[in-house]
């Protein structure tokens, strides 16, 4: 079998915060991504979920090369891209595109839609200048916008339409993989549904793979084939979608799923929630052993102080000392 589209091996991204400067401040290491591994196949969607500060967005930005990784490897079709120079990386940049959360901030307000959509083609020297305009119009059509609006500016569109422009821009270079960083979180539900459906339609049409980063688990269930759950810089569970949602194994995944409110009063009123105590600890000083242990409701089931002293490894499914196959 050929290599998967994307392989990530033990990726780390640490930031140094605080400066050792004049007043003798302390330099600390923020471990935003701390040993993440996964694979992604062609045409597949992998969800990356977790709460604020779990490292999911940093992970995405490191993958596309917006941040240099601290350590670890990223392979694209079996070829290592994480160590390439900016110039050698260019062909891969074409193949991996990104969509952002905020459709207001991710489009240049002074560029017309035409200029936004033809710019990637210009930079990568694709298509002849006069063909680029046509290509831009085709892209608008593909994302459900009127191609005649090509000379308009971003402010002339609604939030949902702007997100469509962002998607069209990501499609311009005919990528294999699109990294979607919370692409529908800023949209109203009726518009969110339109964009979710559009992403599904485009995936089928262009055989796209998505790395789909979101905190909304219902959206993730809807769109993903597999799901990885992150907590404090680490993947704590990774599984096929239905396995993860129907039979969550890691105590954190279970708590996360139980916290999602269901849009059905009958379900909502009757059920028991696992309410976690406290907040997510600081990634500057993660807990020893299992990073989730101070908040874990099941840690009493493990004998001794294993949870507080030994960090569980991610086996085939979940990084928990209770997992039988670890």
């Amino acid at each position: 079998m050929s290599a998967p589209l994307l392989e990530v091996h033990d990726l780390h991204k640490h930031f140094e915060v605080g400066s050792p400067g004049f007043f003798g401040g302390q330099q600390e290491i923020l471990r935003a991504v701390d040993g993440v591994s996964f694979e992604l196949g062609r045409g597949e969607t992998l969800g990356l979920v977790g709460e604020s500060g779990c490292g999911k967005s940093t992970c995405a930005r490191t993958l596309v090369g917006l941040y240099p990784p601290t350590s670890g490897r990223v392979l694209y079709e079996g070829e290592e891209i994480s160590s390439l120079s900016h110039r050698d990386r260019a062909p891969f940049r074409r193949k991996i595109q990104m969509i952002f959360q905020d459709p207001y901030a991710s489009l240049d307000p002074r560029q017309t839609v035409s200029s936004i959509l033809t710019e990637p083609l210009r930079i990568h020297r694709l298509a002849r200048p006069r063909e680029r305009r046509l290509r831009a119009m085709q892209l608008l059509d593909a994302v459900g916008l009127n191609p005649r609006h090509i000379h308009r500016f971003p402010h002339e569109f609604s939030g949902g339409q702007r997100q469509r422009i962002g998607i069209a821009r990501a499609l311009a270079l005919e990528p294999d993989l699109i990294i979607c960083d919370e692409p529908v979180s800023a949209l109203d539900v009726s518009i969110q549904a339109q964009v979710v459906n559009l992403l599904g339609e485009l995936q089928e049409r262009f055989n796209l793979a998505y790395l789909f980063i979101a905190h909304d688990l219902a959206v993730v269930r809807h769109i993903c084939d597999r799901v990885a759950v992150m907590y404090l810089g680490k993947v704590v569970e990774i599984a096929e979608r239905d396995a993860l949602f129907d039979d969550p194994r890691h105590p954190y995944t279970r708590a996360l799923l139980s916290a999602v409110p269901h849009p059905d009063p009958r379900i909502e009123r009757g059920r028991e929630r696992i309410v976690l105590e406290g907040d997510v600890p600081s990634p500057l000083d993660p807990p020893t052993g299992c990073r989730f242990h101070p908040r874990c409701v099941e840690r009493g089931k493990v004998t001794g102080d294993l949870c507080a002293s030994v960090e569980p490894t991610l086996g085939s499914r979940s990084a928990c000392h209770l997992e039988p196959d670890v």
Binding site: E51, D188, I191, A193, D216, A218, V260, H262, P263, V280
Partner: protein, 331 residues
């Protein structure tokens, strides 16, 4: 007798683009101890409704009118600024979506909490501090004494939202207006905060108006739900009835748009076509008409009134009977 009764509330803003009718003839009442959910998308007028109740609409450019806006036996519209100030934050209080912008970054948490008590109840500093600490303990903040001396930036998002709630409940208000109180929070923290709001409501009998776009939150919290669209009520019903059997095409579209954690998760979502209208340039007739799948010619004539459907339900749709038996639309 309801604790709050609002009849034909209208809020308009005079802008360069023309008159924006942010709320256009909304009537509802609130019973003691109940939770009324207010749902709708951006620009539907749900937050403006709450701000109008609190007397917080800036004028100009805003103009607030109503046939009645009664809180217990007082007419909120007729109160002087001073009388309104003694109601606001005391008998009716409000919590906002973003605690980072609604807490004062320059004052300690303790100062902001004690100020509320000193203004409304004229208690001593020492007593105010004691009650502020008790208020923080109430909302599940560990080491409340120490937190009183911290500034908002020293707290996490969930902690700040708890401080907001503590502040909102400090004077044991009869009505709490909660505007997207958990939208900025992660789900596990949201679960903590919602649980807390319910617990405090049970203890103190506070009535809550909960503004949110999250239908899951509404389902879990509300006794009744008002659905708003383009400044008007589209539908109002008990929570269970609304989710089981929506009687307005917009409500139905909204419920179909929400992805679910269970059931058929592979089918396309039933999205609503188009986007919410520009309030300064509304279509003639029913504002939802351009996006509606039940539209007929008579929908263009005038905005439909709210029809009473019995059993505490009403719907502002001429074709409401055509929705009677949804073909799986509610799922």
């Amino acid at each position: 007798m309801p604790i709050l009764d609002v009849q034909n509330l209208r809020v308009r803003f005079e802008t360069h683009h023309g008159v924006v009718r942010a709320v256009d003839g909304v009537s509802f009442s609130l019973e003691e101890g109940e939770t009324l959910g207010l749902v709708g998308e951006s620009g539907s007028g749900k937050s403006v409704t709450n701000l109008a109740l609190m007397g917080l609409i800036p004028s100009p450019p805003g103009v607030v009118e109503a046939d009645a806006m009664r809180f217990e036996d007082r007419d909120l519209l007729a109160l002087s600024d001073e009388e309104l100030r003694s109601v606001r934050g005391n008998e009716i209080s409000m919590i906002f979506q973003d605690p980072m912008t609604s807490l004062n970054p320059l004052l300690t948490v303790g100062r902001q909490l004690t100020e509320v008590l000193e203004v409304h109840e004229r208690v001593s500093r020492r007593e105010a501090r004691r009650r502020a600490a008790a208020g923080l303990a109430d909302v599940g903040i560990p080491e409340p004494e120490r937190r009183l001396d911290q500034y908002p930036h020293e707290l996490s998002g969930g902690m700040r939202q708890r401080v907001m709630i503590a502040m909102g409940l400090l004077c044991r208000p009869k009505i709490l207006l909660a505007d997207e109180p958990t939208t900025a929070l992660d789900v596990t923290i949201q679960a903590q905060i919602l649980e807390l709001m319910q617990k405090l409501q049970r203890e103190y009998g506070t009535a809550i108006i909960l503004v949110t776009h999250d239908l899951g939150v509404v389902a879990g919290m509300s006794d009744r739900v008002n659905v708003m669209y383009a400044g008007r009520l589209a539908e109002t019903a008990g929570a269970v009835e609304l989710f089981d059997d929506p009687r307005h095409p917009y409500t139905r579209g909204l419920l179909g748009s929400v992805p679910r954690l269970s059931g058929d998760t592979d089918a396309d979502l039933d999205s609503i076509k188009g986007s919410p209208p520009d309030l300064a340039d509304l279509p003639a007739g029913c504002a939802f008409r351009p996006r509606c799948t039940f539209e007929t010619e008579r929908c263009a004539a005038e905005p439909p009134p709210l029809f009473d459907l019995g059993g505490g339900r009403s719907s502002a749709c001429l074709e409401r009977d055509a929705l009677g038996q949804p073909e799986g639309g509610a799922r």
